[in-house]
């Protein structure tokens, strides 16, 4: 593209090159900036930046309207059911699914498979490279899913609070495991599974999963159950902005 904007940019850059000013400090850090060659396709890049801005705005807005409250309500319903296995399965599925279809991961895996084929690390036919790519993708997705599930389990067991020094971590792990074992009968029996007694749950269960700013408020998923009140919520400076962003709450 060689339009008027491009010619204008060329003219500006050419004029700059003639002037003999002292070099700014950033040119010593990034000497490549010194060359000041005009960018090719400047118009296309400006249009692209505008697209980035518009797309980001629409995306964040849509996320706040749909996926965030949806996932929040879903996670809350799962937490209310009290089945830890179901919660872990949800966490794993979410981590696995979102990584499996990640486009950046796809690009990296394609490059890795090419290199592996070139270095004769896999069978030379295209089937070998494909198997390698599939195994890599499955392994990475499974790892992310496992990580999310372990993080969820950590929150459920009450290990996620406070500074994590080794001694403190160990003490908390032991206490969390004790509490989990005490409550495990309630989780496992079919009669009590719907609503486990709150005393058997780690205290961080509620504080970690309860939404602080909608206590008792009517939401698309019924009334949120009130939990421990959040002290800072009243004078939260971001609250008005978030309310404007989240019309569903």
């Amino acid at each position: 593209v060689t339009g008027p904007a491009c010619r204008f940019a060329d003219a500006v850059l050419a004029r700059k090159r003639v002037q003999s000013r002292p070099r700014p400090a950033r040119h010593r850090v990034f000497p490549a900036l010194r060359r000041q060659e005009p960018l090719p396709d400047l118009e296309q890049k400006i249009v692209g930046f505008a697209f980035v801005l518009i797309g980001l705005t629409v995306f964040v807005r849509g996320l706040a309207m749909s996926l965030f409250p949806m996932g929040e309500g879903l996670a809350h319903s799962l937490a209310e059911r009290g089945s830890v296995l179901l919660l872990l399965a949800f966490a794993f599925a979410l981590g696995f699914g979102s990584t499996f279809a990640e486009p950046a991961l796809g690009a990296v895996i394609a490059t890795a498979a090419e290199i592996a084929a070139a270095e004769a690390l896999v069978a030379p036919d295209p089937n070998g490279a494909r198997t390698f790519a599939a195994a890599l993708r499955l392994g990475i997705s499974g790892g992310v899913g496992l990580g999310v599930a372990i993080g969820t389990l950590r929150i459920v067991l009450g290990l996620a609070r406070g500074a994590a020094g080794p001694g403190r971590l160990w003490r908390r792990a032991a206490a969390g495991a004790r509490r989990a074992c005490r409550g495990s009968a309630a989780w496992l029996s079919t009669r009590e599974r719907r609503r486990p007694p709150p005393s058997t749950f780690p205290s961080s269960w509620r504080s970690a999963l309860a939404p602080p700013r909608s206590y008792g408020a009517a939401t698309p998923w019924g009334r949120f159950r009130p939990g421990r009140p959040c002290e800072r919520d009243a004078d939260d400076r971001g609250a008005a902005r978030r309310r404007a962003l989240l019309p569903l709450r």
Binding site: F51, M65, A93
Partner: protein
């Protein structure tokens, strides 16, 4: 820029979002068996997500990615020139490492999902973890990782 590119970006976005949406729909429909209220707002939001992400990716492909790769190529040429001039070969790529760290830091700092997650973390911890702190820490981690990765690639250290 053509409509073919936009179509391509839309299809890519749909395939990206399909697993997340299917997990949510699966758990909502089969496990919890609860009708979703506010269906219209949810659908509008999902359409917004798909269209916004498609436009965003199209913009990235048009502007940020070519600019970034051109800059990286120039920096790499520069390092190669210095290396040929006799400077220690992996020290001469200093600008490349700085560029990698800076680009990782900046890209993570403006990552939209990280911004939303940081807001959620602030709410969940009753303001104990400030969103800016979380974002800066994550971005610093990404920057360190990218710089180390660039050093590894240049120095040829095998994993």
């Amino acid at each position: 820029m053509t409509f073919g590119q936009l179509e391509h970006a839309l299809i890519g976005t749909l395939t990206d979002l399909a697993p997340v949406l299917s997990v949510v729909v699966f758990f909502q429909a089969l496990v919890l068996r609860r009708q979703l209220p506010h269906m219209r707002a949810l659908l509008i939001g999902i359409v917004c997500v798909v269209v916004g992400l498609a436009i965003f990716r199209l913009g990235l492909n048009l502007s940020v990615i070519p600019v970034g790769s051109a800059m990286a190529e120039r920096l790499a040429e520069l390092g190669a020139g210095a290396g040929a001039a006799g400077v220690s070969y992996w020290l001469s790529y200093g600008p490349v490492y700085a560029f990698a760290a800076a680009i990782g830091f900046a890209a993570t700092l403006v990552e939209p999902t990280l911004i939303m997650v940081a807001d959620r973390v602030r709410d969940l911890t009753c303001g104990g973890v400030r969103p800016v702190t979380l974002r800066v820490v994550v971005a610093a981690g990404v920057a360190c990782g990218l710089a180390l990765g660039a050093v590894r690639v240049v120095a040829g250290v095998r994993l």
